[in-house]
């Protein structure tokens, strides 16, 4: 299915990507080209086939519900904000969200 300029605008908004007005039309063309190529999948009979999200035939492992040490654990506020562009104390600073 071909997608138009307005659809690109909507999808870019959903993806939180600021695409300038003049890029919308070329993007619509590019994406339509890719989608057209993808649509050959309609030739494949998938009746009764269950969708596959992972190739690993195993159940997700369980662990004790306790706080671990190390990078997957807690207690390291310095590391959490270390790479943030703007912080104050151990908070991330962003423009005002609620008036």
């Amino acid at each position: 299915m071909a997608i138009d300029k307005e659809t690109v605008r909507k999808v870019a908004r959903l993806a939180r990507l600021a695409e300038p007005e003049e890029r919308l039309e070329p993007l619509a063309k590019e994406l339509s080209g890719i989608l057209k190529w993808i649509e050959q999948l309609n030739e494949v009979d998938v009746a009764g086939v269950s969708p596959m999200a992972s190739t690993v035939a195993m159940r997700l492992p369980m662990r004790e519900d306790v706080l671990e040490l190390g990078p997957t654990g807690g207690g390291q506020p310095d590391n959490v904000v270390r790479n943030a562009p703007k912080t104050e104390d151990h908070f991330f600073v962003v423009p005002k969200v609620v008036e």
Binding site: A15, L17, L35, L41, A53, T55, A84
Partner: protein, 492 residues
């Protein structure tokens, strides 16, 4: 003895243990090679000081008769692996200045085994690309050139820095990752060996995520034995990755050189594309003959859904990427736009400025196929076709032990040649992407040169977690091919 950089990883580890060369000498020799090779643009960050410190520590351990299997071996690390305190960019502007406070599990395994880090290797942005041209840091240049020509060629992608640096002897071996062919295609284009292990074999923890159900780390090395040595250190169960599989890591090196007599080799008739050079067909037939001569039984097989693998991939991978890359918001790490007025413009502008063209294209495709009204038609259908492709391989591996195919549909092409046509670029992965969708292990082995003197690879695929048979088969091809050609070092 010549330069330690002329040695394979196996030879170097032997020389280090025998104290014929020190880790500091080997590291300095590699750093000197790297310094001379800026024209290749293979490294984003060179960690010379850290490398020398690690090498000194290795020498101390070796002097005491201690040390791991990779003790003192200087390696290159694809810049998709988080390295503690060291700039990690994923080839993207949006990760400007990002220094992870933690180490990826795969690199931690390598340091545990004594390896030395030379630096971080260039790559396509977020591993999205087949020519290294999407890197924010500029394309890597292939050390190989056409005979008698000076045109710059691509080393392939996304692990182009890994492949080029191994081919040009800028490191003893390198880490890489493969989501649709990003290890095997660049290996094929640079005359190196690249292994994509079974999904779940190497931990994904600390590797910048692209498409989580497809991403898998593996080595690029100079020969099959070196790749086996690298994989043994990289692989292993990790509780921090819930898809990491808990089963012992075999001694892959022991499989190298084992007889392939009696192995059944599947040759899928569908692994051909329009416009594929005759030389690749010929090389493939040659590979069949080599394995037959080594005592393998050749079985014609059919994988009729092969041509649908790439379209499935270009739904599944962008869908997962659009979700994984939602984390780059200009708040917690990386690039933040200076032009923000409110929280939404902070998100939208930081992402628009931070991501390159191809990454944005894929985020948009992914967002579209997951959006209301299109999910069933695209994403769900792709997952169903994926299941059928998986089943097709299960059937095939009931009849054969390995599958032999070409690695890539062409030799290295010129930088810029395919940059304006996304679908043409995507077709580079036509032979490799099936293994990602089905979670299978695959290897690319250099097998010959084309008419212009450029390397071509052959690919073997194996059953899940049967990397040992993969290495056996690959070593047999390597032995028959006797591929010894090196690129002329025009860059030094």
């Amino acid at each position: 003895m010549g330069s330690p950089t002329d040695l394979t990883l196996a030879e170097l580890c032997g020389a280090l243990k025998a104290r014929k060369v020190s880790a500091v000498e080997a590291t300095d020799a590699y750093l000197a090679n790297i310094e001379k090779a800026t024209a290749l643009n293979a490294f984003i960050t060179v960690t010379a000081e850290k490398a020398r410190d690690m090498a000194k520590a290795s020498d101390a351990r070796l002097a005491r008769g201690e040390g791991g299997p990779l003790e003192g071996a200087p390696l290159g690390i694809k810049d998709l692996f988080c390295t503690e305190g060291i700039l990690t960019t994923a080839g993207s502007h949006i990760l400007d200045g990002f220094r992870p406070p933690y180490e990826s599990s795969v690199t931690a395994n390598l340091w545990r085994d004594g390896a030395v880090m030379l630096g971080k290797l260039n790559m396509d942005e977020f591993a999205m690309g087949s020519s290294n041209e999407t890197s924010f840091y500029g394309p890597v240049v292939n050390p190989w050139r056409k005979r008698g020509e000076n045109a710059k060629l691509t080393p392939g992608g996304s692990s182009g820095g890994s492949a080029a640096s191994v081919a040009a002897h800028l490191c003893a071996a390198a880490t890489a990752t493969d989501t649709g062919g990003s290890i095997r295609q660049p290996a094929s284009l640079t005359g190196t060996v690249g292994v994509k292990p079974t999904y779940g074999r190497c931990s994904r923890w600390g590797i910048v995520a692209f498409a989580s159900s497809l991403d898998q780390a593996g080595p690029i090395a100079r020969d099959v034995r070196d790749a086996a040595i690298m994989l043994r250190s990289m692989a292993g169960h990790d509780r921090k990755d819930s898809t990491s599989v808990d089963r012992p890591v075999p001694d892959y090196e022991a499989a190298v050189g084992m007889s392939v007599k009696g192995l059944r080799i599947g040759v899928p008739r569908e692994y051909r594309v329009d416009g594929m050079p005759v030389e690749i067909e010929k090389l493939w037939a040659q590979g069949v003959d080599w394995l037959k001569a080594a005592g393998c039984e050749i079985v014609e097989i059919s994988l009729p859904l092969t041509k649908y693998a790439l379209p499935v991939y270009y739904i599944v991978a962008p869908a997962e990427a659009s979700s994984n890359l939602a984390r780059y918001d200009g708040v917690r790490y990386g690039w933040r736009s200076k032009e923000t007025t409110d929280i939404r413009s902070l998100y939208e502008k930081s992402r628009a400025e931070g991501f390159g063209k191809e990454v944005k294209r894929r985020i948009l495709i992914g967002t579209y196929v997951l959006s209301a009204g299109y999910y069933d038609a695209y994403y769900l259908r792709a997952q169903k076709v994926r299941k059928r492709i998986f089943d097709e391989f299960v059937d095939a591996f009931g009849k054969v032990d390995l599958i032999l195919t070409p690695s890539a549909p062409s030799a290295a092409f010129a930088l810029g040649e395919k940059a304006n046509d996304p679908v043409q670029m995507y077709l580079n992965d036509v032979f490799t992407v099936t293994a990602n969708l089905a979670g299978l292990p695959g290897i690319s082995v250099p097998a010959g040169l084309d008419k212009d003197g450029l390397p071509l690879g052959l690919q073997l695929l194996a059953r899940p977690f049967d990397e040992e048979t993969l290495f056996r088969g690959a070593a047999a091809i390597e032995k028959s091919a006797a591929f010894k050609v090196q690129p002329q070092s025009w860059w030094a």
